[in-house]
């Protein structure tokens, strides 16, 4: 029998994507597209500009030349690979085992290789598009600073593509093995392991990078040691290192085909081994994934605890909050990520504590305040990522049940209220812990402590509102896996909008912090000036607007939802 082509098997996917684009355009998407192009363009320009400045400065250092830029590229690509493996594991679970088209594909006479390649391609595109987009301004900056010329672009694509294929194959293989080991739809066990694996991966990555060595050149006996460290590969057996070598070789005009050959042969070998593994394990794994779900026991704990605490709320809101909490803790794709979150918080605080700041007063005082202030941005970014994962999908996850909510007399404001606070309260607690503990570790002054905590509270309220709103504006009602929702187009727009908000608030507050640090540095009494009050008021107004306006937009959008 003649087998269908790979393009034919993938046809529903790209046709669906095209149709979505058409629908987007038909529903007044031009304005939305313009906003997206502007925000995306500004984001790209920002990344490009920052890297361009850093690379230009580093290139000017005679002795080190392109060594540090090469090292930085290696680290960036290494972090990309780590992110890609994790994201491919999660995506592969959906595309290989949970997707709705699988019944059709598996029951059709499509051979195993086509099925594997089609699903591998789907997983790769879903997991890697964001990383690929992020790589564009980064590699552009390298190309421009090192005068790579027009041909650098296709060359970079040639070097990056196999680097995307390898983690996709690894991710799919890990998922395939895990599904075979764990019975049925026990995604709880599966995803717990993924979360723990990811946590271990982050720690491992952190150790492999050894950032403290790069940050402290004075720790080396002489410059030669430092140069030797820079010359040595960070991780010689990883494709990220080969891609970095290939790209830097081209930019140094020392064209060595070896890294490219390594990249492509490895990618081809991995796809071959992945396909063989798929042939051996997929039928059994797929069958296991179709087996029945777990049975459950009586669970009155939430009603006695949270239910009693929320007794003052109207019954609809109370039931909604209780329902959301129960669903969260019973859905392993959701709660298992808390493990990773906890590890990340520990690593975060550990890093702050390990910073070599107190090596001499009064320089230490300056650094402490600088780090405390910049920590607001970093903690804000961490909270935005968490909001993207947990709050952004909140409305999308109601999609299939929306018939019930819309046909009942539930006020949509109550729904939005519940979703907002269920997400915001834990996020706020985390935000305050991150800033409070960090500031305590840094031993900052009361002024900085109050400023940080107040800013973090205002930012968290706004980030949460933005996440909920963008999740409502760009809902993904048909997605099988909640973990996939934030990687959508809307998730990207949310992250960009949040970064813009963080930047705006930090720029507004920087002047006030500068005034404070300056006064303290000069030994003056630090007083609250009118300028400070105006700046605080502006920052507060910005956060309030970023909370209230999006929530109103979300409510309007929800009222217009049709199912």
């Amino acid at each position: 029998m003649k087998q269908p082509s790979l393009a034919h098997v993938l046809q529903p996917k790209w046709r669906t994507a095209l149709q979505r684009l058409r629908e987007e355009r038909a529903s007044g998407g031009t304005g939305k597209l313009a906003i997206l192009v502007m925000v995306g363009g500004a984001f790209w320009a920002g990344v490009f500009w920052v890297l361009y400045r850093i690379l230009s400065a580093l290139r000017a250092v005679q002795e080190l030349g392109p060594l540090i830029p090469g090292k930085i590229l290696g680290l960036i690509l290494l972090s990309f690979i780590s992110i890609l493996v994790l994201s491919n594991v999660i995506t592969a679970l959906s595309s290989f085992f949970l997707a709705k088209d699988l019944d059709l594909l598996v029951s059709a006479p499509v051979d195993w290789l086509r099925l594997y390649l089609a699903k591998l391609g789907e997983t790769l595109v879903h997991s890697s598009w964001m990383v690929a987009l992020m790589a564009i301004p980064i590699l552009s900056a390298y190309g421009v600073v090192f005068k790579g010329g027009v041909l650098f672009a296709p060359y970079a694509v040639l070097a990056i593509v196999p680097m995307l294929i390898v983690p996709a194959v690894i991710g799919c293989a890990i998922t395939l093995i895990l599904v075979n080991i764990f019975p049925a739809r026990r995604t709880r066990d599966l995803l717990s392991i993924i979360a723990l694996g990811a946590a271990a991966g982050v720690i491992l990555l952190f150790r492999m990078i050894r950032p403290e060595q790069l940050a402290r050149p004075e720790g080396f006996r002489n410059l030669l040691d430092f140069v030797i460290l820079l010359r040595g590969p960070t991780s010689p057996f990883l494709p990220s290192e080969w891609a970095s070598q290939a790209i830097m070789g081209y930019l140094r005009h020392e064209l060595d085909p070896f890294p490219l050959i390594m990249l492509w042969t490895t990618a081809i070998a991995f796809v071959t081994f992945g396909a063989l593994l798929h042939r051996a394990l997929y039928p059994q794994g797929f069958t296991k994934a179709q087996e029945g779900a777990e049975r459950f026991i009586r669970g009155g704990l939430w009603r006695w605890t949270v239910g009693s605490l929320l007794a003052w709320l109207p019954v609809a809101k109370r039931e909604f909050v209780l329902k959301d909490i129960k669903l969260f803790f019973r859905d392993t794709t959701q709660w298992s990520q808390l493990i990773l979150l906890a590890v990340l918080v520990v690593v975060y605080l550990f890093n702050i504590q390990a910073l070599p700041l107190r090596r001499g007063e009064p320089v230490g005082f300056f650094y402490v305040n600088l780090v405390s202030f910049l920590n607001l941005g970093l903690a804000g970014f961490v909270l935005a990522s968490i909001a993207a994962r947990f709050i952004f999908p909140a409305v999308s996850l109601e999609g299939r049940q929306m018939w019930l909510l819309r046909s009942s007399p539930l006020d949509l404001r109550a729904l939005l209220w519940s979703k907002y606070w269920v997400g915001t309260v834990p996020l706020l607690v985390l935000g305050l812990i991150l800033t409070g503990v960090t500031n305590a570790l840094l031993e900052v002054s009361t002024f900085m402590m109050i400023l940080s905590l107040a800013t973090m509270t205002a930012l968290t309220l706004a980030i949460s509102a933005l996440a909920l709103t963008f999740g409502t504006l760009y809902p993904q009602f048909e997605t099988e896996n909640a973990a996939q929702i934030p990687t959508s187009f809307g998730g990207l727009v949310f992250m960009m909008a949040t970064i813009a908000l963080l930047a705006a608030v930090l720029i507004l507050l920087s002047r006030a912090v500068y005034t404070y640090v300056r006064a303290a540095w000069d030994g003056h009494v630090v007083g609250i000036t009118l300028e400070m009050i105006v700046l605080f008021a502006l920052a507060a107004a910005l956060c309030t607007a970023a909370t209230m306006l999006p929530l109103r937009m979300a409510l309007r959008k929800m009222e217009a939802f049709e199912f």
């Binding site: 779900a293 019930l404 046909s407 009942s408």
Partner: protein, 254 residues
């Protein structure tokens, strides 16, 4: 009780529901019949307040569903054709949640839940997650949830799909008793025997328009169908010629 006035729904340029007006009085079990894609589900979803009409309005007991949604929806129990519910709630938890949406709480809710689970033979499953339920059990759970707040009218899309014969019979009896006590049921169905046996009045919808309405005898009279069965009448009104052509094509394949 249920009144549709010039109800129209457009999807882009496609007319899904075309200027439908209908009145279903209290104490009537009304059936909407029509081929696939005729606009039945769209009409029912507009009545339930899930879809917004492009034109026209829906009144439930005098309240416009889109102007006074809360008071209109308090009167309504809606049962959709696709039983999507929260997989990670147990059956009892789901029913309590729905009762909460209708502002009901306390011991009476607990008693009502127990009563409904008993009627639909789901008591032994009440503490199981919904993800473990079969299609038919989910359907029974959704029917229970539509009855939990004692609605005045029930709008139900394809009620018999997925139900075993016993549950289907139970549902027929429940609907019958419901209308006898003054309630109103508006249902869509493909099962013409069900419609003929259960419905006091019917409407046949084709291409988004009502092509016939009234009691089955009225419709027969309007279309000079003599003693024709509802199936023959339905095929006559909705394109029976196509069915014959289809039968010929399928016959040729054998």
């Amino acid at each position: 009780m249920i009144r549709l006035e010039n109800l129209t729904k457009l999807y882009g340029s496609f007319v899904a529901v075309d200027d439908i007006s209908l009145h279903v009085p209290r104490g009537v079990l009304f059936g909407c019949l029509g081929p696939n894609g005729a606009g039945k589900t769209t009409t029912l979803r507009m009545i339930a307040g899930i879809l917004r009409p492009t034109q026209g309005r829906v009144l439930l007991g005098g309240d416009d569903v889109h102007v006074n949604p809360l008071s209109a929806k308090m009167r309504l129990g809606f049962i959709p054709d696709r039983p999507f519910v929260y997989d990670k709630l147990t059956g009892a938890e789901f029913l309590r949640f729905v009762a909460g949406l209708y502002g009901q709480e306390g011991d009476t809710v607990g008693r009502r839940i127990a009563e409904l689970l008993e009627v639909f033979e789901l008591t032994s499953w009440q503490d199981e997650l919904v993800e473990a339920y079969s299609h038919g059990m989910r359907q029974k759970l959704i029917i229970s949830s539509a009855l939990i707040h004692r609605p005045e009218c029930i709008v139900v899309d394809e009620p018999m799909v997925g139900l075993d014969p016993k549950a289907a019979r139970l549902l027929k009896d429940i609907f019958r008793q419901f209308v006898e006590k003054g309630g109103t049921v508006l249902m869509s169905t493909h099962t013409l025997e069900v419609a003929e046996a259960m419905c006091d009045q019917i409407a046949i919808i084709q291409h988004g328009k009502i092509v016939a309405a009234g009691t089955v005898s009225d419709v027969r009279r309007q279309h000079k169908a003599g003693d024709a069965s509802l199936e023959e009448l339905f095929l006559k009104l909705t394109g029976g010629a196509q069915v014959r052509e289809l039968a010929e094509v399928l016959g040729g394949m054998a």
